[in-house]
C-alpha cells in the first residue's frame, strides 16, 4: 500500500526527521512549579475564576501525591522544579485572527512537519488545530464547522467563548484526583483543543490536532476535551513531534471524551515525539491520561494509536462503558527501538448492560526497546451480558529487547464473557526467505511483514494517517534487524 518510491538507502540515512528547532521567540514562564506558576499561567490566559480555583485545587492535591512507580519503565527522577511550565511563541498582536496573521516561521515549521495548514484547508478537508509548545496557534476551518454548530477551537478560546461547557465537562471524565500526571496537568495545562459536536450532527471532516514541543526544557501539558451530543459522530486525529535534544522533556497530556446517547467518537493518534538517540540520550517522556466516557446508551468510543516515538511512553487510553449497549474499542501499535520504553495499554470498565469492548494491541520491540502491554478489563456486577475480546501480540526483533504483557481481568457477574489472548513471536526465517526469493531485500521483507502484522490496527486509521503510520514504522525499524 506504500505509495512512496524511497529507496532503502534513503531510509537508512534518515534519522528522526522532525528533529529541527524553529527559532521563534517565545514568552516563557520562569522555571519551577509553585502556586505562583499556576496563577501566572491562569493570568496569562485571562481565565475565569472557577478555572483558577480548579487549577489550584489540582495543584494542592498534586502536592500530596507520589509519582507512580508501578509502570514497567525506568528513568531518572524528574525534577519538577527544573521545567518551564509555560512557553508561548511571542506574537506582536494579541492573537491571530486568521492564518495570514500567524508567524510565517510557525507556518514553515508545520510545512516541514507535513501539515500545510493552508493547503490542507483547501485540499485535504481536514480541520487542524495546531498546538506549538503550549499554545494553540491556528485553527483551520473554524468558520465552516461553525455553520453546523460544531465548536472546534483551542482550549483557551473555548474557555472564553463557551465557559459553561468547560465548566460542565472539564474533569468530568478524568478528575484531577485521578493520577499524579493528571493532577499535574490539571494544575498547569496551558492549552489544547476543545471540540463540541451538537445533537444529531455528523462531523463532515476529520478534526485534527498537531502538537509540537519546540522550546528547550519546557514541559507540554495540553488538554483535549471532546463532547459528542446525542446522535452525533466525529473522527479526531492527533499527531505529535518534537526537536532533538539531549535532555528529556516531559509531556503530560489529558484527553477527555464524553459520548452521549448513540454518539460515536473515534480518536486516532500517531505519536512520534522525539525518541532519543541510539544511545538512549534525550527524548520525550510521554505520560498521558486518555479516557472516554460512554455516558449514553449505544454510544461508542474508539481509540486507535500508533506509538513510535518518545523515550518513555506511559499511556492507557480507556473507556468507561456506562451507558447500556455502549461499545469501547482500542487498537494499538506500539514500537520501541534503541532504548525506548513503552508501558501502554487500555482499561475497559463495563458498567452498563450488554456493553462490548474490543482490544487489539500489537507490540513491536527492536534494539534494546522494552515494550509492555498493560490492560485492564473490569466487568462490574451491573454489566450483565457484557462481552470483551482482547488480543495482544508481541513481535520481537533482536535478542536484546523485551516484551511484557500484564493483562488484568476482573469479572463480577455470570452472564459476561471475557476473553484474552496473547502471543509472542519473532519473524520466521522461512517468511523472510520466501520474500527474498521473490526479489525483496531483507529490510523490505521485514517492513512488509511488520506492516502486515499491524494491518488490523492500521485499517482503523483514516487513510492519510495509515500511510504515514506505515512509513513511520519503516523508518523506525531501520537497521534494527541483521
Amino acid at each position: 500500500m506504500s505509495t512512496s518510491t524511497e529507496t532503502i538507502e534513503q531510509f537508512v540515512n534518515r534519522e528522526y526527521q522532525y528533529g529541527f528547532v524553529t527559532d521563534v521567540e517565545s514568552d516563557e514562564a520562569p522555571r519551577g512549579l509553585s502556586e505562583d506558576t499556576v496563577r501566572l499561567i491562569s493570568h496569562k490566559k485571562g481565565e475565569p475564576k472557577f478555572l483558577l480555583e480548579w487549577r489550584l485545587k489540582a495543584y494542592r492535591y498534586w502536592l500530596t501525591m507520589k509519582e507512580p512507580v508501578w509502570p514497567n519503565v525506568h528513568y531518572p527522577k524528574i525534577d519538577y522544579q527544573n521545567i518551564i511550565y509555560y512557553s508561548a511563541p511571542k506574537q506582536k498582536t494579541d492573537g491571530p485572527k486568521s492564518l495570514d496573521e500567524v508567524d510565517p516561521k510557525l507556518i514553515e515549521t508545520y510545512k516541514k512537519l507535513g501539515i500545510p495548514l493552508r493547503e490542507q484547508e483547501r485540499l485535504a478537508g481536514v480541520a487542524v488545530d495546531a498546538v506549538f509548545d503550549s499554545v494553540s496557534v491556528a485553527t483551520t476551518f473554524k468558520g465552516k464547522l461553525g455553520e453546523m454548530g460544531i465548536v472546534f477551537c483551542s482550549f483557551s478560546d473555548a474557555v472564553k467563548e463557551h465557559p459553561e461547557l468547560i465548566k460542565k465537562y472539564l474533569g468530568s471524565v478524568v478528575p484531577y484526583t485521578d493520577n499524579y500526571f493528571a493532577a499535574l496537568n490539571s494544575a498547569v495545562y496551558s492549552d489544547g483543543s476543545f471540540c463540541y459536536i451538537p445533537k444529531g450532527v455528523k462531523c463532515p471532516m476529520e478534526l485534527s490536532t498537531y502538537f509540537r514541543i519546540n522550546a528547550v526544557d519546557t514541559g507540554q501539558f495540553e488538554r483535549t476535551l471532546i463532547v459528542a451530543e446525542e446522535g452525533s459522530s466525529v473522527s479526531y486525529l492527533e499527531g505529535c513531534t518534537a526537536p532533538r535534544r539531549d535532555t528529556n522533556q516531559l509531556h503530560a497530556a489529558v484527553v477527555e471524551i464524553v459520548a452521549m446517547d448513540r454518539a460515536e467518537v473515534k480518536y486516532s493518534t500517531v505519536q512520534n515525539w522525539y525518541p532519543g538517540d541510539e544511545m538512549g540520550r534525550g527524548g520525550i517522556y510521554n505520560f498521558v491520561t486518555k479516557r472516554g466516557l460512554c455516558k449514553g446508551v449505544c454510544s461508542k468510543i474508539s481509540w486507535t494509536q500508533v506509538e513510535t516515538g518518545s523515550a518513555i511512553t506511559w499511556k492507557y487510553p480507556s473507556v468507561i462503558l456506562k451507558g447500556d449497549q455502549s461499545v469501547g474499542e482500542f487498537y494499538s501499535v506500539a514500537l520501541t527501538t534503541n532504548y525506548q520504553q513503552a508501558d501502554t495499554g487500555t482499561k475497559m470498565v463495563h458498567i452498563g448492560k450488554n456493553t462490548k469492548s474490543t482490544i487489539i494491541s500489537k507490540g513491536i520491540s527492536a534494539g534494546r526497546g522494552q515494550n509492555s502491554y498493560r490492560g485492564q478489563v473490569k466487568v462490574m456486577r451491573s454489566a450483565t451480558g457484557s462481552r470483551n475480546f482482547s488480543q495482544c501480540d508481541s513481535l520481537l526483533l533482536g535478542d536484546k529487547c523485551g516484551a511484557h504483557t500484564f493483562p488484568y481481568l476482573e469479572v463480577k457477574n455470570t452472564s459476561s464473557t471475557v476473553e484474552h489472548e496473547a502471543s509472542t513471536s519473532k519473524i520466521g526465517e522461512d517468511q523472510i526467505f520466501y520474500c527474498r526469493q521473490r526479489g525483496l531485500s531483507t529490510q523490505d521483507a521485514i517492513n512488509m511483514i511488520v506492516n502486515g502484522y499491524c494491518k488490523e490496527v492500521f485499517r482503523q486509521l483514516p487513510m492519510e494517517f495509515a500511510v504515514e503510520a506505515q512509513k513511520l514504522l519503516g523508518v523506525s525499524l531501520e537497521g534494527s534487524v541483521g
Binding site: 508481541s394 493483562p407 481481568l409 457477574n413 464473557t417 484474552h420 502471543s423
Partner: protein
C-alpha cells in the same frame, strides 16, 4: 465496590505472636539443632522482619488481603491423638501409597507406613534428617525457595522444624506414589503449622508424590507450607498438591522447583478448601531441554478466596512449559489467578503456553485473572490466554436435545470442565478419586 467488609490492610508488623513463636523455637532448639539449620532459620527470620506481612499495595498481593492471617494469635497446636480410621475418610486415605502422616505439623510414626515399599527411595522426617546432618538435606534445604522475596516463605524458613525430606535415588523408578498427608486437628484460632518438604530427584529417577492438606475440625488454623523440589538431570517427577482444609482455615503454600537438564516436572494443584488459600508455584527451568507442565483447578464457594500465583522462569534455551488452570467459582467466592512466564535473555527457542479458564456460577462470585508474559529473548513462542464466562449455550443445547434436563446438563458440563484438569493426572487411582469428588460436588442431586 465489593460488598465484603473491608479489613484494613496491615502495615509491616514484626512484633507480636509471630515473632514470639520464633523466639520460642530458637530457645527450644538451641541445644539440639545443627548450626546450619539455626543459621537458615535466623536468615529466614531476618527476611521476615524486613518484609513483614504483605499488604494489598504489594502487586503480588493486590487482591488477597492477608490482614486476617497477620492478626491471628499464632501458636503451636496442642498435641492430639488421631486414630487411623479418622484418616481413611480423607482423599487418598485408602489408596495404596507410601504414606507419611503429619498431625498438626508433627510426624506421626504410628500413622505413617512402617516399611519402605521401594528400594529406590529414602524418606525421613525433616527433624531427624536435620539432626542427623544428612548431606543432601544440608546441601539443598532452603536454597531454592526465596525467603528474601516472599514473607510467607521467610516465615516458614524461620519456623521450619518438621516436614519431610525425600530422596529418589539415581536411576530408580519408584512405582508406588508417596503420599504426604498434613492434618490440622485444632479448632483453636491461630493454631499454626509450617510444614517444610524437600524433594530431591536424582539423576534419571522417576517418582510420583502426592501432598494433601486436610482439617479434622473447623478451626481457623494457619498452614504455611513450603515445598522445595530439586530435579537433577533427566529426572521425572509428578507432583500433586491437594488442598482441602476446612473453609475457616487459612492456607498459604509455596512450591519451588529447580530443574536441571532434560528433567520433566508435572505439577497439579487442586485447591478446594480454606477461607483464604494462596498457592505459589515457581519452577525454574535452569538447563536446556527441561519440560514443565503445570495443571491447576480451584473450586470454591461461599466466602472463600483462592489465589494461585505461578511463575515459570525460563532461564536457559530450549525448554518447554505448559500451564492449564481452570477455576469454578460459586457463592460469593473470589478467585485470583496470576500466571507469569519469564523468558530470560538467553532462553532462545522457548516454547511456553499458558491457559486460564474460569467459570462463574453465581453473580456474587468474582474472578481476577492476570496472565503475564515477560520476554527478553526473541526466538521464542509464547502464548497465553484467559477466559471468563459461562457454559457454552451450544453444549447445553446439545445435551438438552438428547433429553437431558437443563439443570442436569449444566452440572454435567461443569463437571466436565473440572475433569479437563483432573484427567491430566497420570496416576489412575488419584484421578478416579478426584473425579468422584467433582462428581459429588456438581452432579449429585443437591438435596438437603
Amino acid at each position: 465496590m465489593t460488598t465484603r467488609p473491608l479489613i484494613p490492610s496491615v502495615p509491616t508488623r514484626t512484633d507480636g505472636p509471630f515473632s514470639a513463636a520464633y523466639a520460642q523455637l530458637e530457645s527450644r532448639e538451641q541445644a539440639v539443632a545443627p548450626a546450619w539449620l539455626t543459621a537458615l532459620r535466623r536468615a529466614g527470620n531476618a527476611h521476615f522482619c524486613e518484609l513483614g506481612f504483605p499488604t494489598t499495595d504489594h502487586e503480588e498481593w493486590r487482591f488477597t488481603n492477608v490482614a486476617p492471617i497477620a492478626a491471628l494469635p499464632t501458636h503451636s497446636p496442642e498435641k492430639r491423638e488421631v486414630d487411623r480410621s479418622e484418616l481413611e475418610r480423607f482423599t487418598f486415605g485408602q489408596m495404596p501409597t507410601y504414606r507419611v502422616v503429619f498431625i498438626d505439623g508433627s510426624f506421626s510414626t504410628t500413622l505413617s507406613s512402617s516399611e519402605l515399599l521401594d528400594e529406590g527411595v529414602e524418606i525421613h522426617s525433616l527433624k531427624t534428617a536435620a539432626q542427623s546432618n544428612l548431606g543432601w538435606v544440608q546441601k539443598h534445604l532452603g536454597q531454592y525457595a526465596r525467603a528474601d522475596e516472599n514473607a510467607f516463605v521467610a516465615l516458614n524458613t524461620s519456623m521450619m522444624e518438621e516436614g519431610a525430606a525425600i530422596r529418589i535415588k539415581a536411576n530408580q523408578h519408584v512405582k508406588t506414589p508417596i503420599h504426604l498427608l498434613f492434618v490440622s486437628t485444632s479448632n483453636q484460632a491461630g493454631a499454626t503449622t509450617h510444614p517444610r518438604v524437600l524433594i530431591v530427584a536424582e539423576r534419571g529417577s522417576e517418582a510420583r508424590i502426592l501432598e494433601s492438606y486436610e482439617s479434622l475440625t473447623d478451626g481457623s488454623t494457619l498452614t504455611n507450607a513450603v515445598t522445595e523440589i530439586v530435579m537433577e538431570e533427566a529426572s521425572h517427577l509428578e507432583h500433586c498438591r491437594l488442598q482441602q482444609e476446612s473453609t475457616s482455615a487459612y492456607h498459604v503454600g509455596t512450591v519451588h522447583a529447580h530443574q536441571s537438564r532434560s528433567s520433566n516436572l508435572i505439577t497439579h494443584s487442586i485447591s478446594m478448601g480454606g477461607r483464604i488459600a494462596r498457592v505459589n508455584i515457581n519452577p525454574v527451568l535452569d538447563a536446556e531441554g527441561c519440560e514443565c507442565v503445570m495443571n491447576g483447578l480451584y473450586v470454591v464457594d461461599g466466602d472463600q478466596l483462592v489465589d494461585h500465583h505461578t511463575a515459570i522462569h525460563h532461564a536457559k534455551p530450549r525448554c518447554n512449559s505448559h500451564e492449564f488452570y481452570h477455576g469454578i467459582l460459586d457463592g460469593n467466592s473470589q478467585g485470583v489467578f496470576n500466571g507469569k512466564i519469564f523468558v530470560r535473555p538467553d532462553a532462545q527457542k522457548t516454547d511456553a503456553k499458558q491457559t486460564n479458564r474460569n467459570l462463574l456460577l453465581s453473580d456474587g462470585a468474582t474472578i481476577q485473572t492476570k496472565p503475564q508474559l515477560e520476554i527478553f529473548a526473541d526466538d521464542v513462542k509464547c502464548t497465553h490466554g484467559a477466559t471468563v464466562g459461562q457454559l457454552q449455550e451450544e453444549a447445553v443445547f446439545y445435551l438438552r436435545a438428547r433429553g437431558i434436563g437443563k439443570e442436569a446438563a449444566r452440572r454435567m458440563l461443569v463437571h466436565a470442565f473440572a475433569s479437563d484438569i483432573i484427567n491430566r493426572i497420570s496416576i489412575e487411582p488419584v484421578r478416579v478419586e478426584l473425579d468422584q469428588i467433582m462428581f459429588d460436588l456438581f452432579e449429585r442431586e443437591r438435596s438437603a
